[in-house]
Amino acid sequence: MSETVQSVANEVILSSGERRRITISAILHNEYFLNSVSLILFFGLWQWAATSMVFGHSSSLASPYQVLLRLQELFTTTLAGLSLWGHMWASLRRVIIGFTIAVAVGVPLGLIMALNPYVNAVVKPLVDLIKPMPPLAWISVAILWFGIQETPKIFIIIIGSIIPALLNAYNGVRLIEPEYYDVVRIMGGKPWDEIRLVCLPASLPAISAGLQIAMSSAWSGVIAAELVSSRSGLGYLIIQGMKVSDPAMVIGGMVIIAVIAWCMTQFMDWLDRKLCPWRRDIKGM
């Protein structure tokens, strides 16, 4: 007897009660086997490329082991007065400040724009004006305006993350099914009830998606700002590695950046599940 459970969205068998015979073809199609093959291939290729100097000279790629050693060294010694922990905190602090300001301004403004046509008529043209400009194009102006201290970096983060936060809140409210409002009205609800019972909960998934986009754009914004001008942070770390031709430091910095970005994504996913547990999106990846 075999019992199978199938995923709703597509043809994938989630679990099967049948015992599979171990054959070569089964092993070849096993996910874990394929995953490990691909990882081994990846790191093997990396090692080979680093040792045989595919990119010409020794200062263009470091082997995985060298990167690990360099990372360990960075954790214990200091660079520009800060250990790796210090640089991580410098970047994270900027992101937290900038992201909080952007969300605190962007989300309420988006909600108000969607609820009040007059506010919308005033603010929307200005948002449309700023929207197509990549946040990184502001770096030069930010440096001219605020110097090279913390402010320009936080400004870039705000510019980069306020637009997705605002637009998602705005579209989240606008795309609510009108039937929901009708229900509240039929039950004798006041306009405030419509906002409280329909607008806020129904726009939460969109807002939460906006926060995710805002977070990742804040993270790449802070790296870019630190690449251009900074004395601390992970972006500074990798640009410094470039200046002294130390590929192990550059790659180590990239690894740390990727790990933090991954943690942020996980955190936002967790927040998303907490905020709107009713949402049944197909999260493929």
Binding site: E31, L34, K124, I251, I257
Partner: protein, 269 residues
Amino acid sequence: MAFETVNVRKPLLLRLLPVLSLGIFFLAWQFCVAPPGVSDWRIPPTLLTRPTDALILGINKLTNVNPDGATLLTHAGVSMEEAFIGYVLALAIGLPFGLLMGWFSVVRGVARPIFELIRPIPPIAWIPLTIFWFGIGLGGKVFIIWISGIVPCVINSYIGVRMTNPVHIQMARTFGASDWKIFTSICVPSSLPMVFGALQIALAYCWTTLVAAELLASDQGLGFLITMGRNLGRTDIVILGMVSVGLAGAVIGVIIDRIEAKLLAGIRR
């Protein structure tokens, strides 16, 4: 007639407000910034430039190569070329890859771990490594743009295939279609809306990354224009560069929208 067209006119105030808002914004900008060489209570021209000055400079820059070595159109052309090559490469590799990953478990098993390793790295963080590898020429910028464009391409086409209606697949199975046949005639067409979503997202990413790449490593292009303006202390050039980048991005966005509307006319979304 079965139905009547009802014209709901917006109140006059609502139609006027956007115009007023933009008008006041530009007027305030114009009058709160001092013209070059004047210093009074207004914002000095080292910090901001008047919109009219930026416009005049823009027209002037169409023919004048000073002070950064190329006309505005040359810069825009270089940027567009880099963005276009990177974008097309990202589409050409990312879309088929994502589609195959969605349908074939072997491809998924092999490709996914590597993809997941590379995905969280912001494309901008690749810039130093790219400069090691390719120098500051065209190759490096194309590589960074390619990296930033390929991630949304793969994800969207993958999800597009995974979201295929299982009934369609089962129907095809019942009629004896092969795996490959199901893939090409059911999964790929039904993932098209997601794929087109990817086209737009990837383009926006490419354009953003392009500016960053040019800020750091370049000798021509709109991002370079911005950097040069800052290095020379010419705020008007910085503003002009920013406006050009925004404008070019908006124009490309509109073109993609048009193409999408044409191609996807029959698909309800």
